[in-house]
């Protein structure tokens, strides 16, 4: 193994990690703020990827136009679910949110399978060039993924830390009943958090589409890693999910120098189990 290969995989790990973080942060926000376990989160990611593909197929000229369209589509689907079938499920026991969201995820996955077929789709890299990064030449698109992903993660963090809505969100996470009593519209906070999580998953899927390919089961495949990331970061901890995402991204990418993908997954799982032995609450402490 040369140093270049190692550096290349290190950079790849960052691009994987940013995508994992985009998905995992939504899962962790939904749990941390409203005790909501979203088993359909991987399927929202899958819809983001299909959205980009569909937009390009129906004639949208550029990937950079298709991407926001896809994210808006996923956001619309997420908000539709939030205001219809999921509305009565918010605030119920984890068992019930688990079942309801799994049912929705299965319908989405099988619906996509029925409409678009089982075969995976591919879209060309929107930017094909390479950029010189010190000693290595790195694919420009991956660099763009890293930049966009980190920017969005930082933007969502600023939203939570600095805006009025963010104040409400953090208040609901701490004490829902008291926050409601103080006049904060808790259902609207739920809508914002669910919408934010859905949009982040959709962006993750859209950005991943040119890298990983597009298929109906891509959501079910990613959810394992997303759950590992969430647990490593500490369930409910936003910053933890970002750190965990990058960590697992690096493990998968650097591990792939020597290992098959499944073996790299197992190393990621082993890392989580090891962590649980010493720090049951995750790498950073859970949000509460």
């Amino acid at each position: 193994m040369t140093l270049e290969v190692f550096l290349l995989q290190l950079a790849n790990g960052l691009s994987f990690g940013v995508i994992f973080a985009l998905i995992a942060s939504g899962i962790t926000l939904m749990w941390g703020i409203m005790d909501f376990i979203n088993m359909a989160h991987g399927d929202l990611y899958m819809l983001g990827a299909y959205g980009v593909w569909l937009a390009l197929v129906v004639g949208v000229a550029s990937f950079w136009l298709a991407l926001p369209l896809a994210v808006l589509g996923v956001l619309a689907i997420g908000l539709l679910l939030r205001s219809t079938v999921l509305r009565p499920v918010f605030g119920r026991a984890p068992l019930q949110t688990l079942l309801a969201t799994y049912g929705i995820g299965l319908i989405l996955q099988q619906g996509v399978l029925a409409i678009f077929g089982p075969f995976s789709k591919e879209i060309a890299l929107p930017i094909s060039g390479q950029v010189a990064l010190g000693p290595l030449r790195y694919p420009a698109y991956r660099l763009v993924v890293i930049v966009i992903g980190l920017a969005l993660i930082a933007a969502a963090w600023l939203l939570i830390q600095r805006s009025t809505y963010g104040l409400w969100i953090r208040a609901v996470a701490q004490d829902r009943a008291m926050t409601a009593a103080l006049g904060v519209p808790v259902p609207r906070v739920y809508t914002i958090v669910f919408g934010l999580g859905s949009a982040l998953a959709g962006i993750g899927g859209a950005l991943a589409a040119p890298l990983f390919g597009i298929g109906p089961t891509m959501g079910a495949d990613i959810i394992l890693l997303a759950f590992i990331v969430v647990m490593i970061g500490g369930l409910g901890n936003y910053v933890g999910s970002v750190v965990g995402g990058v960590l697992i991204g690096e493990v998968i990418a650097v591990g792939s120098i020597w290992l098959q993908p499944t073996e790299a997954y197992l190393v990621a799982l082993g890392l989580l189990l090891l962590l649980l032995l010493f720090r049951p609450a995750g790498l950073l402490r859970a949000a509460r």
């Binding site: 749990w31 005790d35 376990i37 088993m39 079938v85 009565p88 499920v89 119920r92 984890p94 068992l95 019930q96 688990l98 079942l99 309801a100 799994y102 049912g103 929705i104 995820g105 299965l106 319908i107 099988q110 619906g111 029925a114 079910a220 495949d221 959810i223 394992l224 759950f227 590992i228 969430v230 647990m231 369930l235 499944t262 997954y265 197992l266 799982l269 989580l272 189990l273 649980l276 032995l277 049951p280 609450a281 859970a286």
Partner: protein, 316 residues
Amino acid sequence: MTRAALVVGVIALGVALPWLVSPYVTLTLTAALALGLFALSYDLVLGVTGLVSVSHATLFGVGAYGMAIGLTRLSAPFWPSVLLGIGAAATMAWLIGFFAVRTSGPGFIIMTAIFAHAVEHIANVWTSLTGGENGIILSVSRVTLVPGLDVRFTAGSASAYYAVAVCLGLAFWLSRSIVGSRLGLILRGIKGNETRALALGYRVGVYKVAVNVIAGAIAAVGGMLYGLSQGFVSVDLLRVLLSIEVIVWTILGGPGTLLGPVLAAVLMSLGIDYLRSLTHQYLIAVGAVTLLVVLVLPDGLGSLLERVRPAREARS
């Protein structure tokens, strides 16, 4: 009196069924009973102890694969292979439980989900061990219990149906004994108020792992019987989907009632089998049922009866 008559009637019907229906229906019923045994074991986890595990099918499938791998890859005799299956499932149950109880709150659910997804992924990829999508074909056609008493596992055999039914009966008796025992009292105490059980000095984590291991061993028997009666073991047996379905069956049948989840599992799995024969998109219906159970019947079918009964009494 009527209750006793009902029980005798149901048992008599159960005994007579293989003679009344075609071998194909017998085969389907045998599979449904094995899934009933699976649901029974899950009721110990969810219904009795109140633990939401998303990895119960993992134990069902690992048990079946343990036996199948013993029989085919290791060329072991029947009974050692069965022990291998039970041992594999119990070990897996211990491993999942050990790590899941270390986390707090919904961490248990997520950890079981992680293990369930990981095992499904491995089973899909490690085809030299599991046969992947094709599974492992079992060529066990006959098992001699005692000289002169054979169970035939050829497709649609009545003796396989009886064997599964007897195992279901034994597991039901065992589960009732567990629920009625001191252990069962502690498990129900954990469901009722975990903090209080902890405060009373019970090592809640140990009991949670123990019930997962016991239920996992019973689920493994279900998985092996399912595989034997079908003639093959495939990745379908350990899918997360099946773990979710068993939760749905348990909720519909009434968590903690033992018999309810068994009945719900038998009826629902027959329903799914029928749906599968109608359309390739039956999984959409499974998803819709999962969602609808939460929206319409979160307290199970029993609550439906209770809702209907007062209304009828009010009318009359």
